[in-house]
Symmetry: C2
């Protein structure tokens, strides 16, 4: 029997509600597929921890977390207490870099029972993945200000792309596309306007393509691609993008499928030299936190992606199938939360999914 | 009688078709409102010119164009003949910087008779403007490569924001919002991830806001904002954004309203130290060029924005009204082009609008 050690970090706001609600479904799936999970909860990476310790993480966080096979993460951010740049750069963005989680993988998929804002689209029509570079690019934090406070004040911020950094995420995206039936990869660029870094990205996309002759590749400028997501979301299979472009596309995609509130994201270290981290796309949602009405589906979908990453695709698919079954029942027959027009609570919806497993 | 000197530059591809088709409606409007237009055509800023001269523009282009009150521009780009970075940086992007056209203004508006990809939206629901910084920011072209061709190859590209550059576009956006009934300004940022330049942008938005106490301001990270465009496009009035974010939003907005093929853009020098330039959002469209089926509405809408900029809002509104009337007739009664499900030609549709003027 395989045993996996999972670090569970609820974080802030609704993270503290959806994480517990997701565990029952996760454990039911593990039991059904003969997997042993050892779950260990941590209170750091939260505003509460920060209030008590003045830092987001304990000194030994890296050594502590390295011992785990994966991290199930809720949400971080509580601006009323900790400024965002401290909470995010002090936890989530730090995890991504330290643990070389260089792929951020986000599915965009029409789900049964979920209303898409796009006219005339039905489940099956839209089902693609965004592969986002997750450690460098536009998020470099290199730069600064000069002539501060004067009329000639100037601010510089560097985008940094490295051969290693670009190639490894491209390889992941090509390999992923190569395993899917459509074998279609779309690259997001803006080489006509961002004339140094993005042409480099394009070159590496072309170079890597030589190792994947079976993958059909196309390329859109990010402005046109954002428009395409709205106009022809059915045309995509795997979309690969830089850190910033991937950030935009992986919110826009789920917005188009109506799943922004329930979409998962996987921060993956494909080389498995450190744990990967699974967090829903929604944030800590201060506006609804503490009311027990947050939708736990994003967190459960994260648990499914985690099982896939741990090498158990059948278990992952089974759990996601349970989610789809419950969504398909609709608010009349399933305890869906208010965002899905139901009157269920976080715990009830989590339980309903667990029961279907 | 006011006289205006207009430089007319058709450029490439369908630019050469939609520009002529727009002039009849423009001239009819001018006649009706007692404006004298002197139109002067130019063949530069095109692949043809490049083939003949090896440059996109003649040596004296700047002095030549400075003598005009405005530039009506078609489209530039014909990658089969000239690489995009040469044609764009050699004309359009050069105009923007040289003539300090620091505002790129793009309306996002549901039009009668035009199908939006969003479910359940009707004309009147969506009507906002994107104000894009148009000369600096992410389009700096400062940077380079080091360790080329090796495993440690690294590429840097600088985002450059200046106090002058940021403040002047923000001032324009605030003033514009202040004149509109809703007095609502939305700023696009990404200060949680792009941690040097975007916090500076946020600071300047806040500082400029002190001079406009009547304007309600909010702020979205670009990922969330892209999603909001799809989910709640009715919530916007004026949206201000950096060069890159504005580029993305001003394609995404018209995609949401179904008007990507007919949307205009105005590259404005608000200080009137040089001519402003009006070009449709659609490009040169090599795939349909030369067939006489391109939609001239974007170009006509540009002419309307030009009249507005020249100080004739009534004439501008009248021309746009004629466009809306013709669109509202639908493909049964108006010679709409194939993109609008009609069988009309470029010339026929241009003529139909001119007749309504
Ligand atoms: C062609 C390209 C360089 C240009 C831009 O990004 O500015 C275009 O997309 C636009 O929006 O006018
Ligand atoms: C919170 C923010 C820094 C983060 C990002 O931009 O990476 C978030 O938007 C995400 O996509 O995970």
């Amino acid at each position: 029997m395989s045993t996996y050690r999972i670090a569970v970090i609820p974080g802030d706001g609704i993270g503290k509600e959806v994480v517990p609600a997701s565990l029952e479904a996760l454990e039911a799936t593990a039991a059904r597929f003969g997997l042993r999970l050892e779950l260990t909860g941590f209170g750091f990476a939260s505003a509460e921890y920060w209030q008590r310790h003045g830092t987001m993480l304990p000194d030994d966080w890296e050594a502590t977390l390295r011992g785990f096979d994966a991290i199930l993460f809720g949400a971080v951010g509580w601006p009323a207490v900790v400024p965002d740049h401290i909470s995010l750069w002090g936890s989530l963005l730090r995890f991504r870099r330290t643990f070389d989680q260089y792929v951020n993988l986000r599915p965009c998929r029409l789900m049964p029972g979920v209303r898409s804002p796009l006219a005339g689209r039905a489940p099956g029509d839209i089902d693609f993945l965004v592969v986002r570079e997750n450690t460098e690019g536009e998020y470099s934090s290199v730069g600064g200000r000069i002539f501060e406070g004067t009329e000639r004040e100037t601010v510089l911020q560097e985008t940094v792309m490295t051969r290693v950094g670009v190639d490894r995420v491209l390889r992941y995206a090509y390999e992923l596309a190569d395993r899917r039936p459509k074998r279609h990869l779309t690259s997001a660029t803006k080489s006509n306007g961002i004339a140094i870094s993005m042409p480099y990205w394009d070159e590496r996309v072309a170079a890597m393509g030589e190792s994947f002759p079976g993958v059909r590749v196309d390329r859109f400028h990010i402005d046109a691609l954002a428009a395409e997501f709205v106009l022809h979301p059915d045309r995509f299979d795997v979309v690969v993008a830089s850190n910033l472009f991937g950030d935009i596309l992986s919110d826009l995609g789920p917005a188009c499928t109506g799943t922004l509130g329930i979409a998962p994201s996987a921060n993956i270290n494909p080389d498995r030299t450190a744990p990967s981290l699974f967090e829903p796309v929604h944030g800590s949602a201060p506006d609804i936190a503490g009311r027990g009405i947050a939708n736990p589906i994003g967190q459960i979908w994260c648990a499914s992606m985690m099982l896939e990453h741990l090498g158990h695709p059948a278990a992952a698919a089974h759990l996601l199938g349970a989610v789809e079954d419950v969504l398909a029942l609709g608010p009349g027959e399933a305890p869906l939360t208010p965002d899905l027009h139901g009157t269920g609570t976080t715990a009830e919806l989590g339980h309903a999914v667990a029961e279907r497993v």
